[in-house]
């Protein structure tokens, strides 16, 4: 299985969870993916997010109103989970589109 060592966490990333919130509609969206199932581009984006160093909290939001915000959870082989909050402007496009809202 292909995994990636999270620079901050040390252990390999196995699962990636992406939650989207905000937007004009305010509809939450989430997706859970195996790191190994991601494309090369998406893996590179996950690695970039992991390396960015941001963590849980309130990141500087994208300017204006009705923007999306994202929470990326990186689940490691060790079981540890690292949570990274991302404003829309900073979220890689290849990951942002993965979390789509579903009709109730």
């Amino acid at each position: 299985m292909s995994t990636s060592a999270d620079a901050a966490g040390g252990a390999a990333i196995q699962t990636v969870r992406i939650q989207r919130r905000g937007g004009l509609a305010g509809l939450p969206a989430s997706v859970e993916l195996h790191y190994a199932a991601l494309s090369v581009t998406q893996r590179a984006a996950v690695d970039k997010v992991a390396a960015a160093g941001a963590t849980r909290g309130s990141p500087a939001p994208s300017a204006g109103a009705d923007r999306f915000s994202f929470r990326v959870e990186l689940v490691h082989a060790s079981g540890d989970t690292r949570v990274i909050d991302m404003p829309e402007d900073a979220m890689p496009a290849s990951l942002a589109g993965l979390a789509k809202p579903a009709l109730p």
Binding site: A25, A65, D66, P101, L103
Partner: protein
């Protein structure tokens, strides 16, 4: 260039009110060339020639303004005539670079966005006496076709941006007049109270955009407060899959938790989750406004919206305001607009959504 389309937009009365000359960004050299093109009918050539002349006159005025401001800024500001907001339309062509490319040949979608934005400006001007988002004639920039299947519209601090939707849940975001009113109102809030986009102040920020968006739509359609569809947010952007499941809107200000809302909201203060998104908790002040306006009766733009506008432009409205603080200011505003009876109706509306009466009395 589609000259017929250009000419149609220039002939549009609302477009003329907003900006008699600069409806779309067309280089003066292009206007000049087409105004002399014998292949174009005389009436259109005349229209293009007039547009060219007026564009050059405005450019001259702006240059004079710039130079005069540099020489004697205080004097010039005092004498400056109100600026008429000019609209600029851009096409993102499904990319995320803003603002995108200027639109020279407006399609139907661009015309809709342009005309509706012009109407929002007219609403603010005629109903509330406000000149664009900054009350100084701020030019309005709209970018359409942002990203691919982008299920959102937003105000980025300087301009409005619209996605095309995914075609299942949402269609093009500019198709709902209240959505354009909503986004433009974020610009107004940014220039007035600058309500912080988190917690209760963030929910108020969102609610204010919903309130002015729906009342603009009611004004546009001449709907009284009794018209149920006048209180729906995003009714015009629901696509087939959402409609098929019975969702008729994003939000309903009269019934925020109703099943026909794709994004149901709490209706009472005791139901809110402080950690929820600002678009969720806005249901409480949304319902307070709808309850107030419906208790007043008639048309929401005759007095109810003026009470809210007086609150939004009140210097006492802090950027971190709570629901209770905002409510207290609305009651004071209602007293100014319509006396004790209107203030009592306003207070009653906040009581119905359980916003702290102790804070109101204080």
């Amino acid at each position: 260039m589609n000259l017929r389309s250009q000419s149609d937009s220039l002939d549009n009365p609302s477009a003329r009110r907003l900006c008699p000359v600069c409806c779309f960004i067309v280089p003066p050299s292009v206007l000049k060339a087409y105004s002399r093109d014998p292949a174009i009918d005389p009436a259109t050539r005349k229209s293009l020639q007039d547009t060219y002349v007026e564009t050059e006159r405005l450019r001259g005025l702006r240059e004079a303004h710039r130079i005069a401001t540099l020489r004697d800024p205080q004097r010039f500001v005092a004498e400056l005539a109100p600026h008429v907001p000019v609209q600029h339309l851009y096409d993102c062509n499904h990319r995320k670079n803003l603002p995108g490319k200027p639109v020279a040949t407006p399609t139907a979608g661009f015309k809709t966005a342009f005309d509706t934005t012009a109407k929002v400006v007219e609403f603010y001007k005629t109903v509330l006496g406000r000149n664009s988002v900054d009350n100084k004639g701020f030019d309005l920039v709209s970018s359409l076709h942002y990203d691919r299947k982008y299920d959102n519209a937003f105000w980025d601090g300087r301009q409005m941006v619209y996605g095309d939707g995914d075609g299942k849940l949402f269609t093009e975001m500019y198709l709902s007049p209240d959505v354009i009113g909503h986004e433009l109102t974020h610009g107004v809030t940014q220039n007035e109270s600058a309500l912080r986009y988190e917690g209760e102040s963030g929910a108020l920020n969102e609610s204010i955009s919903d309130v002015f968006g729906v009342v603009f739509n009611q004004w546009l359609n001449q709907w009284a407060v009794t018209e149920a569809k006048g209180w729906l947010v995003g009714a015009g952007i629901m696509a087939s899959a959402a409609q098929h499941k019975g969702f008729t809107c994003l939000r309903d200000m009269v019934q925020p938790s109703a099943k026909h809302c794709l994004s149901p909201q709490p209706e009472r203060y005791s139901q809110i989750d402080p950690t929820a998104d600002v678009h969720v908790n806005s249901g409480v002040p949304n319902k307070a406004f709808a309850t107030f306006a419906r208790s007043v009766g008639g048309q929401a733009w005759t007095s109810a919206i003026k009470v809210w506008y007086g609150t939004c432009t009140n210097r006492q409205l802090r950027s971190d305001a709570t629901f209770a603080e905002f409510a207290a200011l609305t009651v004071a505003s209602a007293n100014k607009v319509g006396g004790a009876s209107l203030a009592a109706k306003c207070k009653g509306a906040w009581q119905e959504v359980e916003v702290s009466l102790a804070a109101l009395d204080a």
